[in-house]
């Protein structure tokens, strides 16, 4: 595929060059002709000028030497052959209007240029069609697959830089964790092939695979694991705070790691499947912002910030997930239309995510494309400042929840997303369907608003502040949905950095909207200082009990209870659980659909060009 597109590119370029030259030549010729014709017509029509032509020799200082010579030569020529030029002009004049003789040259030049361009375009189109029709009749597995993504990492420093785009590219592909997670968000073996915990859940022992190594050839053993986790905790790297109750970690021998906690923590294994569990080479010395040395099936061959990342299969890879495709290029598109164009033109073979409404043409063209949606943990949270001047009134918050028509919101986005009535999505522990708590009911909402003192004559003015990465449509829809219940919503779409400052840090907002895509992030609702300004002791108690639970089922039940309390309090409305729509060329296999914005294992991705 890449060879093909390269060839196209070169052809295009050559064609363009040719066009340019032709145009130039035509233009030059034409202008020469025009000048000649003009000379002729001048001779015929203006005898005075002709007579004065001789005096041009006397020297017009403003004309350059060449022009001067030419004109004097022409003047001599025409002086010598007045009859011929006169005849020529008469011929020209008899063919059309005398006055337009001058313009003809230009017009013909333009027409000629247009014809040349059209001919070249037609030639290219016909040749391309021919190329397509004589495609080889066998299956070809591409050496390189290009994947179009949306949010680009600005650097590769997974220990310091936030953002799911880094997890998406690096976790599991370049860096590997002590344990891993699968497409259903469950913990599976990673660098550790097995583990056990003690009875009270405060000590974990991990047994590592043997013969592991990093892409630079260094051996990977228990000392690297212990060093990586210790560094994380000591240097407070990103997400270190999620390893709660951490006490110590040590390598008991080359293949065994022991991790101790001060108190049980039910999410520990899952957290270790994310950034906190990643294992780095303690002996390697490299700039983590621009390079990556990991143990995964791929290495980073080239990284252009905000534009693309090229991954090459790691020849020294130790494990079972050996890369199927030698080169994977990840390209980032800030603009949705640009992304769709790239898939249509074959510049990328997969697009994840694609805006559902924009995916329409691919859905229709099932002969060439496949479109599918996968589950994810993205929660579009409409936060309502629990300590805000107007939103601290629970009746207002409840009214907003009743007034929002989630079905309509989801339908307007294409219909793939799922309704979500509370803080826990279906792929996370503790999920239960809470959509029945605040069903769409405008009358109830109006009654609550009236009770809170707002009427059509005295509407409630609220600000909705959110980052411009989410577009303007959602804000517009919310404004129109809240209007009937006497809320005058001012939508304030700001830059992400501004949002971080005003909303996240200063909590200066009424309503805000964020796609909280992190998984296992319920603890947000237990932190009084978080931007929600939400505080409920019952929730904290349930959560703490859940984290100390000895079994997963016990943990899940407690989380579900906590989630119900949060949802009842209405500190937010959960607009929907975003589902990722992925569009790909037929022939692409092994591309994960679930969770692919945070977890994108690429080792099994393959692109076979369809048989003609």
């Amino acid at each position: 595929m890449s060879t093909n597109s390269g060839a196209y590119g070169e052809n295009d370029a050559t064609d363009n060059k040719t066009t340019g030259t032709n145009e130039n030549e035509t233009a030059t010729n034409a202008s020469g002709d025009a000048a000649n014709a003009a000379g002729g017509s001048m001779n015929a029509s203006d005898h005075n000028a002709n007579a004065a032509g001789g005096s041009a020799d006397a020297g017009d200082s403003s004309a350059n030497a060449d022009a001067h010579n030419n004109s004097s030569v022409k003047a001599e020529d025409s002086a010598g052959s007045t009859d011929e030029t006169l005849n020529a002009h008469v011929k020209g004049a008899s063919g059309g209007k005398a006055g337009n003789g001058k313009k003809k040259g230009w017009i013909w030049a333009i027409i000629a240029a247009v014809v040349v361009v059209a001919l070249i375009a037609a030639f290219v189109v016909i040749r391309n069609n021919q190329k397509a029709s004589i495609a080889p009749a066998q299956v070809h597995t591409a050496d390189s697959v290009t994947i179009g993504l949306k949010l680009a990492p600005t650097n590769l420093d997974i220990r310091n830089q936030s953002g799911s785009s880094l997890d998406q590219v690096l976790v599991g592909n370049v860096y590997e964790g002590l344990v891993a997670r699968d497409s259903n968000n469950k913990v599976v073996p990673g660098l550790a092939k097995s583990w056990e915990k003690n009875a009270d859940g405060t000590s974990y022992t991990f047994h590592l695979n043997r013969g592991m190594n990093f892409s630079n050839g260094d051996k990977l053993d228990a000392s690297d694991v212990a060093w990586s986790i210790n560094e994380l905790m000591v240097k407070h790297y990103h997400d270190s705070e999620s390893l709660m109750n951490f006490k110590s970690v040590m390598a008991t021998d080359a293949d065994t790691v022991k991790l101790d906690l001060t108190a049980p923590y039910a999410n520990l294994l899952w957290e270790l499947a994310c950034r906190p569990g990643l294992v780095f080479d303690k002996n390697a010395n490299y700039d983590m912002k621009t390079q990556a040395v990991g143990s995964g099936p791929y290495t980073v061959a080239k990284f252009v910030p905000n534009d693309s990342i090229t991954l090459k299969a790691n020849p020294k890879y130790w494990g079972e997930h050996k890369a199927v495709t030698p080169t994977i290029v990840l390209r980032y598109f800030g603009d949705d239309n640009a992304a769709v164009n790239a898939l249509k033109s074959g510049d990328v073979q997969v697009l994840a995510p694609v805006t559902e409404n924009l995916a329409e043409p691919f859905v229709k063209d099932s002969e060439h494309y496949r479109v599918a949606a996968g589950d994810d943990t993205d929660k579009y949270v409409l936060a309502m400042n629990s300590k805000g001047a107007k939103t601290s009134d629970v009746r207002v918050r409840q009214a907003i929840r009743y007034a929002i028509d989630h079905k309509q919101l989801i339908a307007s986005r294409g219909g793939a997303d799922k309704p979500l009535g509370g803080p826990i999505p279906s792929l996370d522990p503790g999920y239960q369907d809470l959509t029945g708590l605040y069903p769409h009911n405008v009358d109830k909402a109006k009654a609550l608003m009236k009770e809170a003192g707002y009427t059509p004559d005295h509407p409630l003015e609220l600000r909705l502040t959110y980052a411009n990465t989410y577009g303007t449509e959602l804000g517009d829809q919310l404004r129109s949905q809240l209007k009937p219940i006497d809320i005058d919503l001012k939508v304030n779409v700001v830059e992400f950095s501004t949002w971080l400052q005003d909303v996240l840090k200063n909590k200066d907002y009424d309503l805000s909207m964020v796609d909280h895509n992190e998984s296992h992030d319920f603890s947000q609702w237990t932190q009084d200082t978080y931007y929600y300004n939400y505080s409920n002791q019952k929730v904290k108690d349930y959560y703490n009990q859940a984290m100390a639970a000895s079994s997963d089922s016990q943990r899940d039940a407690l989380l579900a209870k906590a989630a119900r309390v949060v949802s009842e309090d209405a500190p937010a409305d959960w607009l929907f659980n975003y589902r990722i729509t992925t569009a790909m060329k037929n022939g692409v296999t092994g591309f994960p659909l679930n969770l692919n914005q945070t977890l994108l294992p690429l080792y099994n991705v393959r692109y076979m060009t369809p048989v003609k």
């Binding site: 403003s62 999620s242 252009v304």
Partner: protein, 323 residues
Amino acid sequence: MRFVIRRFLLFVAALLAISVVIFAALRILPGDVASVMAGLNAPPERVEQLRSQMGLDRPLIVQYFTWMGGLLRGNFGTSLLTGRSISSTVAMRASVTFPLIVLGLVVALAIGLTLGVVATLATRPAVRSAFHFVAIVGGAIPALWGGLLLILLFGRGTGLLGILPSQGFPEAGWGSFGSALASLVLPALTVGIIDGASLMRYTRSALGDVMNSGYMDQAMACGYTRRQAALKVGLRLATPQLVSVVGLMFAGMITGVMVIENLFALPGIGAGLVTDLGNRDLIAVQSELFMLAAFFLFVGFLVDLLHRFLDPRLKHAVQGGAQ
């Protein structure tokens, strides 16, 4: 010579003033790179830790002089976010943007000068107003819309003709020269057609002024036809004016291509600046803006010099005025 020195000092003073404005303006923006790096769930202590690691907690005046000190030594600094040297990042982005605007300028010149001259020479009122209309409409096309139209016409995979790539820059950069050039054709056409239309109006008005001057009568008295006079004398006389316009257009294109680069997914200066600003990578943004401003001013400086070189009357006028 005195003019050159005086003009150069003005250039340096303007640069200094701009550096202060850029630095101050960026500090007023809410949000910082540390909070972007730390993310939504980070505890405040972590944000503070990152801030001090990056030196963002130092006094502003210290930050300014550190930055300026670097600039004077030719060191534009290191991006806080990407960890790369800013000059090399800008150089990489410029390798996309510069060829793009040069191509765009070629297109604009080809369209603007040719049509401008034709429009001036056209004698029939209908033709003249047709050109006038084209110039106004062409100049009024929003770049985004114009680019989309071109994509719909020529874009590979999307367009009617489907002959040109409309998205991105090749992985190998200018290493694969053909593809790199091809990927710049549509963006350059977008820039060129729109700027060409404005240039056409300038050409027409500049040339028109000259055509009505005594120089033309003189030239025609010397035996030139109207057309010859326009091409050989008129254009030359209008050149200084056009050089100013083209110079400013060239400088303006650098900032103007932001929209185009985003539309065609090109990793150029404009698109990069937007991202860096969004991430509050202030050291990168301030250096990038400074380089753009320097470039803008430098083009102005060159235009002034060129102007004087092309139109010796200015020299006398200045000297006359000084005496």
